[in-house]
């Protein structure tokens, strides 16, 4: 195996010195965390420029995570769908089954470098929790994962995986008992434990430097996909599509394509439809506000109280979004799409039946919109879709939605 894997230490489209992307981002945190966040910012900046850190990170991404992940031309799906050629970036084939591990490897290495013995994380669907627990097991760190009580119940297989990996899963009962509340409790833990604890945030949100740091750790997705498109298709895609909850897989795929002539499409969860409140489309339906350490688009009421969200996929069920995506939307860099629960389920079934690939429900939102866009294009054009995770974790949800569980019982 090669000893020297290429890595990119440059940081383009950086936020300002205080972590602002346009008017968004920043560091809206309690005073107690301002010192630890500054320390983290400096540690990340230093590590990112250290070839030894980058080399170890790339080695782990290659030999432990299984990168580079394939770029797959879904030729049968493309034919049946009609229109543009559909290419899938196969993050579902990573160790632990989703892109989340790119980030936890990076933050885990940083935690070790900073001498922290304990890591904490928030999780919704459990994919980030599993990826954090995995890295904690590998590095021999204590790990506590906060998870809303409601998510603990609907994502039990992932809860059990985390426990097997040695993590302690803490069910959160406050607020709406979902992802946003898990984030609140993780922040409360960190306020009290920042001396010896590293908080591994799972998306491109939170106080500076998290949105930047998580983007950089995931940028490998788009860097690989870019090179693979050139190699396999002989050209860049016309359109790149990713689903957006907090936005980590979207920034990972789209950031390295920003300076190319590629349409960048973010797909939000439309739940039961964008007209009511049962969705999680903070870019499409939210307004600028301050939550979880950053200024960004939020789903909130007139008084700024954060609203409950709904999506069939727990990983998109979040009332905010990464601040850089908010800035990209305002700047016209990003096209916005949405997919309902039903559209995501339909895309899930089509990919499964047509290509033998079972996608995560989160990724199924990107597929739904990607196929829609491709259908209106020419067969000589190319659509790149981030298949951010595999669907094994979603079997129960899908069976229920299809009515199979009732039939079986």
């Amino acid at each position: 195996m090669s000893a020297n894997i290429p890595y990119d230490m440059s940081i383009t489209h950086a936020p300002d010195a205080r972590g602002h992307f346009g008017i968004y981002g920043g560091r809206f945190a309690a005073e107690t965390l301002m010192g630890p966040l500054k320390e983290l910012e400096e540690a990340f900046a230093e590590a990112w420029q250290d070839p030894a850190f980058q080399q170890e990170r790339m080695q782990l991404l290659q030999h432990y995570v299984g990168r580079a992940t394939p770029l797959y031309h879904a030729d049968r799906l493309s034919r049946e769908n009609g229109g543009a050629q559909i290419w899938l970036k196969r993050e579902d084939l990573t160790h632990t089954g989703a892109h989340k591990i790119n980030n936890t490897i990076g933050q885990g290495l940083l935690a070790r470098r900073m001498g922290k013995q304990r890591v904490i994380a928030e999780t919704g669907a459990g994919q980030h929790g599993v990826a954090t627990a995995t890295v904690a097991a590998k590095f021999g760190m204590q790990c506590d994962v906060y998870m809303g009580r409601e998510d603990v119940e609907r994502q039990m297989p992932n809860v059990l995986r985390m426990r097997l990996l040695g993590a302690n899963v803490i069910a959160v009962d406050s607020g709406t008992a979902t992802l946003k509340d898990a984030l609140n409790d993780a922040l409360r833990d960190w306020v009290a434990s920042c001396e010896d604890t590293f908080y591994i945030i799972g998306t491109v949100a939170g106080p500076h430097p998290y949105p930047l740091m998580v983007r950089q750790f995931h940028a490998v997705i788009g860097q690989e996909a870019r090179a693979q498109m050139l190699e396999q298709a002989g050209r860049l895609p016309d359109v790149a599509v990713a689903c957006v909850g907090g936005g980590s897989n979207a920034m990972g795929l789209l950031h390295p394509l920003r300076d190319d002539a590629v349409r960048l499409v973010a797909v939000e969860a439309a739940g039961h439809g964008l007209d009511g409140h049962a969705h999680a489309a903070s870019l499409a339906r939210g307004k600028a506000g301050i939550l979880h350490g950053n200024l960004t688009y939020l789903l909130e009421d007139q008084d700024g109280q954060i609203q409950g969200t709904h999506s069939i996929s727990a990983g998109l069920d979040y009332p905010g979004v990464g601040p850089e995506l908010a800035a990209m939307l305002d700047a016209g860099e990003l096209e916005l799409e949405a997919a309902t629960d039903d559209e995501a389920l339909e895309a899930f079934r089509r990919l499964t039946a047509c290509e033998g690939i079972i996608p995560a429900l989160e990724s199924s939102h990107a597929l739904a919109a990607g196929m829609r866009i491709a259908a209106g294009m020419d067969s000589s054009q190319h659509v790149l879709i981030n298949l951010s995770g595999r669907g094994d974790k979603d079997m129960n949800t899908v069976f229920k939605a299809l009515g199979w569980l009732e039939q079986a019982s």
Binding site: R18, G26, R27, F28, A29, A30, E31, T32, L33, M34, G35, P36, S174, G175, K180, D181, N184, L187, R188, V191, A192, C194, E195, K287, A288, G289, I290, L291, H292, G293, L298, E300, Q302, D303, G304, Q305, I306
Partner: protein
């Protein structure tokens, strides 16, 4: 910064040779009507009343104050109710200091300028926003100042000397020192290190320094009062509400008694 009622409150306490008692309750907890009676009862004994703006995601608060927000919001408390409660307390207690405390998003949703205007009109003297650090506070400071409101700044055990200096430049009214590395209502930290940090803050400002987070008993209040200008008690008052659930009179009595005992503990003869 022009002087306002908060400055007068602290100079009065200084003349009386005692630390100020700062008491906190969440507006609208358990509902707007009972909350009014509880705030009025607390206002009888405190020098400064902190009125919390309920928020759906109170990230810096422990379970006691989190649940206060949940009760208030479940009972349908809106920002207009918060301002109405401030106005009522102000009418009946013209001399106490009133500080609105909470998280940035509700004021931001209103518009910072509109929020500042409404706060001042209702009779508040200061505003403390937990998740607006000095680095992000310029626009807030401008609007609050324009309406004669002090911007209360938090400092914590993890604040570097550089950050202490920065916050002291932005602050008005008083400095709120968070006595522990953690959330509201946790157990109080080591008193000697709190004293040391307060001394460090005093090197950067002439503003009064109040200490809060984790102070529950008269004994703790006395210990903190020995080296600070004010003692903040929140969770201990809020906890009386669920403890007497369904009995508004008992909540009121318990908060009144607690506040009197703390106030007595802070008088120079105690």
């Amino acid at each position: 910064m022009t002087e306002n009622r908060l400055d007068q409150v602290f100079s009065r306490c200084k003349q009386e040779n005692r630390a100020a008692l700062v008491g906190y309750l969440t507006a609208g907890d358990p509902n707007v009507e009972i909350s009014e009676s509880l705030l009025l009862a607390l206002a009888e004994s405190v020098d400064v009343l902190e009125i919390g703006m309920p928020f759906s995601d109170p990230m810096a608060d422990g379970p006691v104050i989190q649940q206060a927000s949940e009760r208030a919001l479940a009972a349908g408390t809106h920002m207009r109710d918060v301002f109405a409660l401030v106005a009522t307390v102000r009418q009946q207690h013209p001399d106490i200091g009133i500080v609105l405390m909470g998280y940035a998003n509700s004021p931001y949703a209103m518009g910072i300028e509109r929020f500042a205007a409404a706060s001042a009109q209702a009779g508040a003297d200061g505003v403390l926003i937990v998740d607006i650090p000095a680095e992000e506070s310029a626009i807030w400071g401008t609007h609050l100042q324009a309406h004669g409101l002090h911007r209360i700044m938090l400092l914590a055990p993890t604040s570097s000397e550089e950050r202490i200096a920065l916050a002291c430049r932005e602050a008005g009214g008083f400095i709120y020192y968070v006595s522990l590395t953690g959330i509201t209502g946790a157990d109080m930290g080591d008193i000697a290190s709190v004293q040391q940090q307060v001394a460090c803050i005093r090197r950067h400002t002439d503003l009064p320094v109040c200490v809060g987070f984790g102070i529950k008993t008269a004994q703790q209040a006395q210990a903190v009062a020995a080296f600070s200008d004010g003692v903040v008690v929140g969770s201990a008052f809020v906890a009386q509400i669920p403890a007497h659930a369904g009995d508004a009179a008992a909540m009121q009595q318990s908060i009144r008694d607690n506040a009197r005992a703390l106030r007595a503990a802070l008088s120079p003869s105690a």
